[in-house]
């Protein structure tokens, strides 16, 4: 993996593909997180809210993006993580997640994060603050 002490802006730090996020995953995430909003579980409710079918919890998408961090850095190095939910993630979509080096100061590196769905739409745009060492 690219060293945060020597990386240049734009360097790819990590990437992975989540695989399809199916209904079973939405049910398991609802149970594990306590987020039982029917928008993610009940197609009828989702239609009334204006969607074709249930949609993926924003926080499940963010959790999948966060695996880039936990799989590449010791847990105590993570200092901040934020995301903007830029698009709806339809059920059964996969997310292509990536982290690129953005900047650093004496203590932290800032990584630019994004998740792109199967149609190429950027659905999550975020940053992470990670201790350099």
């Amino acid at each position: 993996m690219t060293n945060l002490l020597t990386a240049s802006p734009g360097d790819l730090i990590a990437e992975y593909d989540s695989g399809p996020i199916d209904r079973q995953m939405l049910v398991r995430y609802a149970e594990a997180s306590g987020d039982t909003n029917p928008l993610h579980l009940d197609p009828e409710f989702a239609r009334k809210a204006g969607f074709a079918d249930v949609i993926v919890h924003g926080m499940l998408s963010m959790a999948l993006l966060g695996r880039l961090l936990t799989e590449n850095f010791a847990a105590d190095r993570l200092r901040g993580f934020d995301a903007r939910f830029a698009g709806i993630v339809a059920v059964d979509q996969s997310l292509r997640c990536s982290a690129r080096f953005e900047s650093r100061d004496e203590i932290d590196a800032v990584l630019a994060l994004e998740a792109v769905d199967g149609s190429g739409a950027k659905v999550l745009i975020g940053t992470a603050r990670v201790r350099l060492a």
Binding site: S18, G19, M25, R28, Y29, E31, A32, S33, G34, D35, T36, N37, P38, L39, F45, K48, A49, G50, H57, G58, M59, L60, M62, A63, L64, G66, R67, L69, T70, A75, D76, L78, R79, G80, F81, D82, A83, R84, F85, I88
Partner: protein, 141 residues
């Protein structure tokens, strides 16, 4: 109907959540991690602060229709790791309500602090921005 701006400052009573080994393992499994970690995954704080349907209760208190709601943004600051067995105290407050696009989009900002009860150490902070979608008013032909 616009969200009542007088609700800025609304706070839920603080509540405690046990970050048990089982809960962390269940959460890790639900997000596709292969092994249960020693330290809770980065977004586990959202599950902690969401205990007892707390987000739903805040939206109910603000008289917001769940069908109009989407999660727009989420930020976390990490100050101390959450480990198996930690007892965490959650304090959630509505810190801002504002609109965009002539009121077609309203945003509710909910900030949380998550403190370890044992030693009083602040484990982290969370800032959630909720979007409330209002349809454009119908204009008579």
């Amino acid at each position: 109907m616009a969200v009542d701006r007088a609700r800025i400052g609304y706070a839920l009573p603080a509540f405690d959540v046990v970050a048990s080994a089982e809960r962390i393992a269940q959460f890790a499994q639900a997000i596709g991690m292969s092994a249960a970690p020693d330290v809770a995954p980065p977004t586990f704080m959202k599950a902690v602060e969401g205990e007892n349907n707390s987000s739903r209760r805040i939206l109910d208190a603000l008289a917001v229709d769940l069908k109009r709601v989407l999660h727009a943004e989420q930020q976390f600051d990490y100050l101390a790791p959450i480990r198996r067995g930690d007892v965490l105290r959650v304090q959630r407050t509505v810190t801002d309500i504002y609109e965009r696009k002539n009121g077609q989009m309203e945003f509710i900002v909910i900030e949380s602090s998550i403190t370890r009860v044992d030693d009083g150490e602040l484990a982290g902070r969370s800032r959630q921005i909720v979007l409330v979608r209002h349809p454009a008013p119908k204009v008579a032909a």
